[in-house]
Amino acid sequence: MSDRETLERIVFLEGELLDEKRFEEWLDLYTEDAIYWVPATPGQKSPENHVSLFYDDKQTMLARVTRLRHPEIHAQLPASRTCRIITNVAVEAAAGSAASLDVTSSHMIVEYRPGWEQRIFAGRCRHTLRHEGGRWRIARKRFDLINCDAAFAALTVPL
């Protein structure tokens, strides 16, 4: 398998784990210092001085997954079902590090929760992958939704 295919597979695998609600395995794809970021405004420059839909470090991601497994998480009773298409994948070298590469991709996610209207999320993703402990892991994910500044109904599952 070429390097390019290996890197692509990480992005596809992440989507698969999320769609299959294998959240613990999803967490394990991320490095311990990882950042998971979904900006709240187009072209958002910083997560520090502007609100974000998600801006999670690993600890917050873990809290999110723990909550998703809680028996009384009302906003997921019943749970969302998602299916996503990931395409237009491109591999870029990250600035300044051979052990780190950026992969960009386009995502379309359809979410259905019984009793609620089906929703579509679409946007461009940038994964920063780092080779660590003999495998590639996600050190950073930025997902720019085309409607990131819209009013949303609850976004209880990670995108």
Partner: protein, 430 residues
């Protein structure tokens, strides 16, 4: 012709229960727009969103489009965002800066005070005696505009109580909050969170004064030790506890106060001042301006939130405001705007931005549960076999002081009872 007479309306709001029609009937929603949103003080924006002449911010009051704009004389104006000619919305961007506003349809041009400045092929019109000073040919100003600490409110109707009288004693919580900014000013910064739900706008309003729902609704955010996820930085005073060491719900000790006109406040679940880290720097700066004792007092954040009826909520603990935007009887948008405490360390602002991501974004650990409740209430209230929603809790224990401020605790529903009394009073005024 309104579907409900004052007698009909009074039958919808009893002391301890509210009729389902108040939340599900489109006729009630239409009357609310006319009698509440067009007749009382409604939050529009903060003056810091329009710092320079020509800066504008588009929003709405009820369902009507308005824009807040700083005029060349430096005053903040609120205008209806509607062309005098054929009615198109003139300003189409949410915010920006303009010397003049030009309608896209036929090109009519307005000054930042709404007066008509010119129109295409003007020479021909002037020849016909066209009167540029006619108010009907302007972007009309909203009848009354006033501010408190830069928070701009407008009232579409003339007369009645002024803004400060309307807010009344509830203003102390706003004064205290702003006093915790070392420069004595706050500003809106860091964008906003927007969420929506398929439910009536009053579900959100009730929720702001409802300490009773916390334990059940937000069960999934509490760890087995009774502490919620860590919400703020610093070494102490940063964790919200839902249960004390004896497994007693902490929320029982949280007081709720109600003020005339339907405003309310709830006490904080963070009774201790935060210490450690950047909070020491903040304390030092504040103490230099206010004195050490006053600084300690201000940093304790005794109030969790203050709600000004009908749509404004100051989230003291989050350093943010929440604004409710009704869309239809069963659809509502809500926005959360972080506030920067001017003069405080920038790290404090950045931390508050992260904090509000966790508590009030559409993906947050807390808000998602509330949105679920609002959606389910609207579905449940379709039940015609049962007319009433209950707000009975703590009725016997509620006490009013000599300023007319009511108090309760032990997860009282006092706030719900009195916001609906304020609602009724406005709705019944012919």
């Amino acid at each position: 012709m309104n579907a409900y007479s004052p007698t009909d309306l009074k039958a919808l709001v009893e002391e301890e229960r509210i009729h389902r029609k108040a939340f599900v009937d489109p006729d009630i929603f239409r009357m609310e727009m006319e009698r509440i949103f067009h007749r009382t003080w409604v939050y529009v924006g903060h003056a810091s969103q329009v710092p320079q002449p020509g800066d504008f911010f588009c929003t709405r009051i009820g369902l009507q489009p308005v824009l807040m704009v700083r005029h060349t004389d430096n005053t903040v104006r609120v205008l209806y965002n509607r062309c005098a000619h054929r009615g198109a919305r003139v300003v189409n961007e949410e915010c920006g800066n303009a010397k003049r506003f030009q309608c896209m349809y036929h090109g009519w041009i307005y000054r930042t005070d709404g007066t008509l400045a010119g129109l295409p092929m003007q020479a021909d019109e002037s020849a016909d005696g066209f009167d540029f000073s006619d108010p009907d040919l302007s972007m009309r100003p909203v009848a009354q505009v006033d501010q408190i600490h830069g928070f701009v409110f407008a009232n579409m109707s003339p007369g009645g109580a002024g803004l400060l009288d309307y807010i009344g004693e509830a203003r102390h919580a706003i004064d205290e909050f702003v006093d915790a900014a070392p420069d004595g000013e706050v500003e809106i910064a860091g964008g906003c969170h927007r969420y929506e739900y398929k439910g009536n706008w009053k579900h959100q309003l009730e929720n702001l004064t409802d300490t009773y729902h916390v334990i059940a609704t937000h069960a999934s955010t509490v760890d087995p030790d009774g502490k919620q996820f860590k919400r703020r930085s610093g070494t102490d005073g940063a964790e919200a506890r839902f249960y004390d060491d004896k497994k007693r719900p902490v929320i029982l000790d949280i007081g709720v106060s109600v003020y005339p006109h339907g405003h309310s406040s709830t006490e904080s679940m963070f009774p201790e001042a935060q210490t450690g880290g950047i909070w020491e720097e903040y304390r030092r700066i504040l103490a230099a301006k206010r004195g050490p004792e006053r600084a300690d007092e201000l940093l304790k954040q005794k109030i969790h939130n203050l709600t000004i009826f009908p749509t404004f909520d100051l989230l003291v603990v989050q350093n943010a405001i929440r604004v409710i935007y009704p869309i239809a009887v069963d659809r509502t948008e809500v926005r959360i705007y972080p506030l920067r405490m001017k003069g405080a360390p920038e790290a404090i602002f950045r931390e508050q931005v992260q904090y509000v991501n966790l508590t009030h974004s559409a993906s947050s650990f807390v808000q998602t549960d509330d949105l679920e409740a609002f959606d389910r209430i609207q579905v449940g209230l379709a039940t015609e076999a049962q007319d009433w929603v209950l707000a009975t809790r703590g009725k016997k224990r509620e006490r009013f002081d000599n300023r007319g401020i009511g108090h309760g605790n032990k997860t009282t529903e006092i706030g719900l009872r009195y916001l609906h009394q304020a609602w009724l009073e406005l709705m019944c005024a012919e």
